[in-house]
Amino acid sequence: MAGTIERPPDVTAPVTATPRARWMPASAGHAVVWFVVVALVVGPFFPLVYSSLRSKPIYLPGGTFTLQAYRTLFADPLFWQAVRNTASFAVGTTLLAVVGGTALAIGCNRTNLPGRKAYRLLLMAPIVIPPLGLIIGWLAIYGQGGYITQLVGQNLHLPVWNLSSIPGMSVLGAVITIPIVYLTVQSSLAGTDSSLEDAARSSGAGPVRVIARVTVPMLRPAILNCTLLIFALCLEILGIPLFLGTPSNIDFYASYLYRSWNSSVTADPPFVSAGAVLLLLVVSGLLILRARLSGSEQRFIAAGARGGGAHRPLDLGRWRWPASIGLAIYIGITCAIPLLGLVLMSCVKALSTLEVPWHLFTAENWHLVATDPTLRRSITDSLLIAGGGGAATVLLVAAATLIAHRSGFPLRRTLAPALIYPRAVPGVILGIGFFWTYLMFTPGALVRNNLWGELIALCVRNLTLAYLVIYPSLARINAEFDRAARSSGAGWWTIARRILLPILRPPLLAAFVLMFITLLSDYDPVVFLQKPGTEVLGVTMLQTWQRGVVGPVAALAVVQVVIVAVVLLLGARVLRRLRRA
């Protein structure tokens, strides 16, 4: 029928109705994307497990299969000490974060707390502030020699806290993880029917009773869900023990692995791999449990009635203002003051209460950041990784997401779990996995000692975030858009390029912004990969700090915070314009 269509008299333009010939079937492209994603995500785990079962590091000749690495690990008393420390830290942090986050979520979403709209935004700050910046800021203010610690201890002669103890670290851990609890509980609150609470009120219950007897019990699935998530996150935390635990010789699981790796007699010993494999098993188990539970939670919500309309907030009565002021103080203590401390520390010789800060003012730290090749390179390298890696990851994940949810590719169902998994794996473990992968395989050697290797590890670790942003938006795009394009004669890749990706522009940009700020601040996966000449911000800060050089690290942290803030502001602006168009 092509070309020989009889046209009605009022139509004159020549139309050749031959769809464009394709140079290869769409599924070949699907297979390439699928293979790249699965190889990057799953690949690093084989060398990891393999190296944990060998008697010698795999770069040495010889070596046999053995469980010796696990035996060495279990025989090390320091290992068990680290396990105990991690467990008590995880319990403390989870408890504080879950109780605090739930209270904040209820307070800001279900009561007439003054200023609750502003607090809803401000409480998200610890998510976007680079974690190392927050940790160093806390150290500068509340650490052993911190400004406020000195003020209270030496000037006021009051008993002081010890931030480098396990309870102290738990407090900081809770501050960092509270936004996660807050977001989980808040979305659960938004999904539950507020008329259940209204019913309790109209039957005579006061606000406290309503919260205790109706609101909190309904939140139980969400609370359980984020309890498991926070606990799993605590097991892999590296920054807190390295910065805070070192002065008091407290090691956690991740920092124990890191230190053993660095200080072992034979470089890169198998027992570190064994420790990584064990941690991987525990964390994966916890997250599988959580997925099971949240699955049943979803069924629970779907079965119930949908939330109805405007909801009159619970009245806090005379506690309104004290609660609001308390929350303001909390935000000041946990975020504002440490950030100020960070800036102050980057501009002085030393932070001390014995001298007023402007007497100690120095441009030395900033001068060093501007001139020292290593420090400078760490900024440019991190920007390269965040910009280039972020863009590449968003493209790859966008293609993979479209294949997973909008194609007929036979293996498409395996893509979604593959895209979720990297973020569930502790970053240090992924780092060790990539280390061995680059060492064992020839194509890996190409990226072993350069920035590419670090870029790949960081991007793979965080590609989940891009998926989590892109997928919900894709799910909302009517499938008839694809069908209309197909019946217009467009092949799969044309539909992806011309229909779906252009509609997805706002979420793609949001995913890029999120990838950018995460790649700029993340460092866990590359602590084992960094070599001289391939510095990134996080690891450079870590290593410089360990040499006892403090001021320039604070300056680097300020650089990190400023870049993140600028990118967030720019991104939000462009996003608003995109949405309006």
Partner: protein, 352 residues
């Protein structure tokens, strides 16, 4: 333009048979409607023709091109079938202007820029959207969006036009206008068209032929008038307008006709069809039953009006005749109470 042949189409979704041996032909320049309630398989049939779903069994061909032949393992990709399709949601891409939407099928066919501009101008004039070329979909009314979807579907002069409930998102007034307009356009362009709807008025007013579907099967295939007057199957009679069903004993009448008798209609109802067997069921449309004052001249059993409602251009009555309850449509106002009922010869038809 080509015929569409659909032969022995079958499809199941997780054990449920959605299409069960569906066969029909759409002749050149014909507008054929697939009519049925939701879940009857009409949209699945359309999607199979479009190539957006693959049947488990059967053959679909368009002119000399085989779209699907499960036995010969042929399954032409949707984008290579050269069809125009209008979707229920219109599926106008929100990030493209009206002109870009209409140009898309031309661009994927690698036409020259100038030819595209010319053709888009023509098509937009044809669907009366010439002034709206630069607008985005969200700036258009429902009726205009629908015409964009249609313009996109006919942009490259497709062999066949497929319409999936294109009027269901329009309000009642607009729907009638759009219906007339689309029918006229289809006629001018001479497009072979398959139209899916659940709306009997649309089906009756637009189609050259109606296929009534239920449970994945085609129950009736005929012109709108044939289908309405001689539904043959009880489901079809009920689906297309209202219907009364009367079951009774059948005897042969003169000239191959038949007479149906029941306790109420002792004189018998003349049906101009041959019917084998001692008993049968007839379908009678409410507007074909005559009712009059009990003292009016003429024959027919006595009945009682039990319920009356005024519907603007006619009255709707429920009339009890013995144990039968008939619905009757009439122009003349009648009080509740006794009436005389008459079914004129020739209006009834046998149904299965």
């Amino acid at each position: 333009m080509p015929d569409i042949r659909v032969e022995h189409l079958s499809k199941s979704f997780s054990g449920t048979r959605v299409l069960d041996d569906v066969s029909f032909t759409v002749k050149d320049k014909e507008l054929v409607t697939l009519l049925g309630s939701s879940g009857c398989g009409k949209t699945t049939t359309l999607l199979c023709i479009a190539g957006l779903q693959t049947p488990d069994d059967g053959l679909i061909a368009c002119g000399d091109d085989t779209f699907v032949d499960r036995d010969a393992r042929i399954d032409l990709a949707a984008e290579r079938r050269n069809l125009g399709m209008v979707f229920q949601s219109y599926a106008i891409w929100p990030h493209m202007t009206v002109a870009q939407n209409v140009a898309f099928p031309l661009r994927v066919r690698k036409m020259s820029r100038r030819a595209i501009t010319a053709r888009v101008g023509e098509v937009l004039a044809l669907v009366e959207l010439g002034q709206h070329a630069g607008r985005y979909p969200h700036q258009l009314s429902g009726g205009e969006q629908q015409r964009v979807a249609l313009g996109r579907a006919i942009a490259y002069s497709p062999a066949v036009l497929l319409l999936d409930e294109p009027f269901s998102n329009l309000d009642a007034k607009l729907r009638e206008r759009a219906r007339d307009w689309l029918k006229a356009l289809q006629h001018t362009l001479g497009l072979t068209t398959v139209f899916v709807t659940h709306d009997q008025d649309e089906a009756l007013s637009m189609s050259d032929r109606i296929l009534v579907m239920n449970g994945g099967r085609i129950l009736r295939d005929g012109t709108p008038e044939e289908t309405y007057r001689r539904p043959r199957v009880r489901f079809v009679a009920e689906f297309l307008g209202q219907c009364n069903f009367i079951t009774g004993a059948v005897t042969a009448g003169p000239d191959g006709s038949a007479i149906l008798r029941t306790a109420e209609f002792g004189d018998g109802i003349a049906v101009p069809e041959h019917h084998a067997g001692p008993s049968g069921t007839i379908a009678v449309r409410p507007e074909d039953i005559e009712i009059s004052q009990p003292d009016a001249p003429g024959s027919g059993p006595a009945g009682t009006v039990v319920d009356a409602s005024f519907l603007g251009d006619h009255y709707q009555y429920r009339v009890a005749v013995g144990t039968l309850h008939l619905s009757v449509r009439s122009q003349c106002p009648l009080a509740q109470g006794p009436v005389r009922v008459r079914i004129p010869p020739g209006v009834a038809t046998f149904v299965e």
